[in-house]
Amino acid sequence: MGKDALLSQFHSVAADPLGYARDWKARNGGPVIGSFPMNFPGEMVHAAGALPMIIQEAQDQITVGHGLLFPFYCGFTRSTVDQAAKGDLAVLDAIMFGDHCVQLLGAADAVRVQLPETRVIFFQLISSMCDPWTFGRARETFLGLKVELEEFLDRPVDDDALRASIRLFNRNRQIIREIYELRTAGKTDLSASQMQDIVKSSMVMDKAEHTALLEQLLLEIQAGADQRRGLVRLHLSGHFCQAPKQEILDMIEECGAVVVGDDLYHGFRYISTDVNAEGDPLDGLARWYLDRNTGVPCPTRVQNDVDWDAFLIDAMKREEAHGMIVLMAKFCEPHMYYYPEVKEAFEKHNMPHLLIETEHESMALEGLKTRVETFLEIVKRQHAAKTAIPA
């Protein structure tokens, strides 16, 4: 299969994740277990022989969901509740959630009421990351999740199977990280939307199937080279639970930028960290949970000895990015809390950034385009001034 065909397959799954789940179920007959973002150990479900998939924001208009959550909630929570109310999530045999965000908790409550026949499994991960008991509590939570999964699926999740799933998931993450490196180094011309398709389909597809496709893609793109020279190199930041709309990503690149790195959840954040495949797998998963936040800090967690703003500045230096666009999902409270820290740090370091607030509903792209074009002009001038050879 050629590069375009592979990318097309990733795109199809990313565009219709529930359709993929239905097909997978028809092909395999096994249960499908959905999960809320962002810290779901899919390895555990995979080891039990089920398909883990991360529930995605749908692209259609929210209708009946308006009767369950107020309009001042983020697009992901409103869309998830809307999908549940419309019956779209019926393909899921169970839904797991364990995050801390108050809007996600509200959505989970509403989903449980809408889907009385679907098991909604809750495991609340500790969100305070540097307490002496954080590791132990995270492990305890994963153990509780494992016990409930085993009970629900009526089959044990043995340690060897879990370690095998961890190795497979690690391989999947490693290949995507390799693709990221190629893109940062200018050795592939994959667009931001194509990168999103790769990551988003990984959240949905059978991992072995997805990994096989990734192996092929890696071979294909290593043969090519990035033709996009002279463009403004950008880092994209933010957007946690939901994927940014592809029309925004495309618009940014059409304005004369190339995205060379990101910390989006539907991006590098998702694949940043591997799980130790040796030893006790629950220890490995608990360690992974902690390591992810030191690797790519997340404002949904609190960790006083880790700074997201410092991470972003380092990432931009590593990626040789000229500027950063912050994509903030409207009403995302953790992001709103942390943003002033990022803003202050970037101003202090004289690093340009632009904040774009995104919405589930359609956005006025033309107005945004003007802002992005202006921003890119500023970035170009600043970059030229910094790199100019003194007379």
Binding site: G67, L68, L69, F70, F72, Y73, H100, C101, V102, Q103, L105, G106, D109, A110, R112, V113, V120, I121, F122, Q124, I126, S127, S128, D131, P132, W133, R137, P299, T300, V302, N304, K330, F331, E333, P334, M336, Y337, Y338, Y339, P340, E341, K343, E344
Partner: protein
């Protein structure tokens, strides 16, 4: 139609609650003097950990209480503006924005002082008057905002202030034995919180450099327990017709049970409230002189509008009798507190924040209150920036309609940001609900 004009007041507020204003003023004066008196200051939000601090002679500042006080005095503007200038967006919890605005103001003044610019806040500038923290303790049930707000406070002060986090899990209640304050999940979660509270005490000892005075905590918790019992007894008497006190009287009484010094004064306060309520029941005196409707208030308080809303409903002859905010929180289960060994019971009361049980339990509790107080309708305040309270509101409205057959109405407002409140919408929606109640009564007759 604006019903709140310069006409004589209709709402018959409890006279005893006037004492609350005096106690509140004395408490904040104590806070403002704390640094001069050489006291350590701890900022915290959410759970009422203040007895732990008070026992150790640490001055406590409850973020929501300060923000609410500013809003009730219509002095929240400068703090909210300072927060906005730093980049905190309007859609963030306005309690947090207001309190963070105080931190921003404090840091600005300190930085100005460093540069030699004299910037002594004037006495009326309450955003600047709040003493900076020497420690932060985060112990927030249910809402992720609490923990993030504390973390950002710590960062605003350059991460130089020690911070301690107590994690309080949500009660999901999916196990077969799950229920209100019972079942395996409840027991395990209670123990988990208790363990962390003991670690929190070690953190306090490290800050004070002294052994923790457990006897003092026991004494304070004895007062809290008694005050809580009196408060609940008085609330129970409001099943009488007409209701002797209103939801708004209980709102005014939050500070004494939640964050004021836990000395004998709070017992005296609630004894006075209880006695006045009992006297009114005996005399047939109502909080609303011509009680025609009995309502339940779901949602957090709109602190800019306490008196305004009390008067508005009274003019409609509507007694707002009970609410999720007042009747399901604030040391709500005194029987769980063993004053001789109070830590577990304190943790359990923190777990009974009005939102910390998932909807099956939460909705049942609210329906029970509506039945108990025999309400005709429910007013739902959708507080724009308090998603902890708005999360289950559609489920609550649905249950009220289907299980109890009562009318509900919703209006949008906010805890401390007045700009989200639209008075005309409140009028038209409340009037529509009351007319629907009338129509039902006529049909039933």
């Amino acid at each position: 139609m604006n019903l709140v004009t310069s006409q004589p007041k209709v709402a018959n507020k409890l006279k005893s609650t006037r004492m609350a204003g005096k106690l509140v003023n004395e408490y904040w004066d104590m806070v403002f003097r704390a640094k001069e008196e050489g006291k350590l200051v701890c900022w915290y939000e959410g759970s009422a950990i203040n007895p732990f601090l008070e026992a150790a002679d640490i001055c406590w500042v409850h973020g929501e209480a300060y923000s609410a006080m500013l809003a009730a005095r219509h002095q929240e503007g400068p703090a909210q503006q300072a927060a906005e200038e730093r980049g905190y967006m309007k859609e963030l919890c306005s309690y947090a924005r207001t309190h963070l605005g105080c931190a921003v103001t404090n840091q600005r003044n300190r930085n100005d002082a460093d540069t030699g610019v004299t910037n002594v806040p004037d006495d009326d500038d309450l955003a600047a008057k709040l003493p900076a923290p020497d420690m932060i303790i985060s112990a927030y049930a249910y809402c992720s905002t609490g923990q993030q707000w504390d973390e950002m406070t710590s960062r605003l002060f350059g991460k130089k202030i020690p911070i301690f986090n107590v994690s309080i899990p949500w009660i999901w209640a999916s196990k077969k034995d799950a229920g209100y304050i019972r079942g395996q999940e409840w027991d395990e979660t209670s123990k988990y919180v208790e363990r962390q509270l003991y670690d929190m005490v070690k953190f306090i000892e490290e800050r004070t450099g002294k052994p923790y005075p457990w006897d003092r905590l026991r004494e304070l918790m004895g007062n809290v327990k008694r005050a809580s019992e009196l408060r609940l007894e008085a609330m129970d008497m409001c099943t009488a017709r007409p209701a002797p006190a209103s939801f708004f009287d209980w709102v005014v009484s939050i500070a004494p049970i939640n964050n004021l010094p836990a000395g004998p004064e709070i017992v005296e306060y609630f004894q006075a409230v209880r006695d006045e309520v009992a006297g009114r029941v005996a005399a047939g005196e109502g909080a609303v002189p011509r009680e025609k409707y009995r309502l339940f208030f779901d949602g957090i308080m709109n602190w800019n509008k306490v008196g305004w809303l009390a008067e508005k409903f009274a003019r409609y002859d509507a007694a707002v009798i009970a609410g999720r905010y007042t009747h399901m929180a604030f040391w709500q289960e005194p029987d769980l507190i063993d004053a001789r060994d109070p830590v577990l019971g304190m943790g359990q009361n923190y777990l009974i924040c009005p939102n910390n049980h998932s909807s099956p339990i939460l909705v049942d509790l609210i329906m029970d209150l509506c039945r108990k107080y025999e309400v005709d309708g429910m007013v739902i305040h959708a507080s724009r920036t308090c998603r902890a309270f708005t999360n289950p509101q559609f489920l609550i409205a649905d249950a009220a309609s289907k299980r109890l057959g009562i009318q509900t109405t919703m209006f949008e407002g906010d805890v401390t940001d007045e700009s989200f409140y639209k008075d005309e919408l409140v009028n038209s929606r409340v009037e529509a609900m009351l007319e629907a109640i009338d129509a039902r009564r006529m049909a039933a007759a």
